[in-house]
Symmetry: C2
Subunit: 143 residues, 2 copies
Amino acid sequence: MTSKFTTAVHILTCIDIFGEQMRVTSDFLSGSTGVNAVIIRNVLAQLRSAGIVTTRQGSGGAHLARPLNEITLYDVYKAVECIDDEGLFRFHENPNAKCPVGRNIHKVMDGRLSAIQTAKENELKSVTLAEIVADTKKIISEE
Amino acid sequence: MTSKFTTAVHILTCIDIFGEQMRVTSDFLSGSTGVNAVIIRNVLAQLRSAGIVTTRQGSGGAHLARPLNEITLYDVYKAVECIDDEGLFRFHENPNAKCPVGRNIHKVMDGRLSAIQTAKENELKSVTLAEIVADTKKIISEE
DNA sequence: AAAGTTGTAATATTATCTATTTCAACTTTT
DNA sequence: AAAAGTTGAAATAGATAATATTACAACTTT
């Protein structure tokens, strides 16, 4: 499990909150998140590939590619964590095909576990960044 | 993420399916799962602490401590993966407290993410090992 | 007493995430 | 045109965690 998902949400929140007043560079985001600037650029690259942000060489600064209420946590998660490769659970990789349990346990569990995966994804889809940013602004204003 | 959860389900399935005919030792389970025998014994120790299996030094062989339909996937998951320590997501650990976003993002996301955690746990609670074993036996009989 | 097993600690290996270094390509400013 | 600051990306290093391995004491049965 990586921390790229929460880092990405942090990044997007910063872009929205600070983007109008200043240039949100990878260096600034590195300072806010405490994550190395190169990692930030990697995450931004993944968000860019997913059509969530725009970046430009030279001029610098990241911008949202679409409105906050059209970006769900699932979109962000899918962009930065490789969902297809591995699900919520990790299988032991070398079950013995000569054992009737060993050669079938993966198949048996897959169906049950993918239901859980789906439940997680549906929860992620139900939250947009607009809500995250609204919550953040509210907390900041009450400080 | 570890593979101890799926390994544990595999182990419990084996205990039920093979337990009447033979002694299900850590060595046998190592052969069926492809997981090192010491790791198997560690998993068994965790399942024993959770009151799911019984083991004995010397005589060998693991046994179920209660009926399959009284063991949910959640029981197994809780026994072998430290649920409290870390949730479904991993946070970047050093957000900048001097940044209004940095010092609040964790709090903002926590509520949303724990809802997802709960959804996952509820799904895990809804499946018992009795169903896993029934599915496995069905597939074996059709081979 | 011998053989086989569990329980457990200590160490090694492996995989993976994160950080770091480096530099070319690009944009804006002077 | 030059300088300063930035992104994109590759290569390497470091840190962390999961898994495997080794070793052996304690235990049970034959």
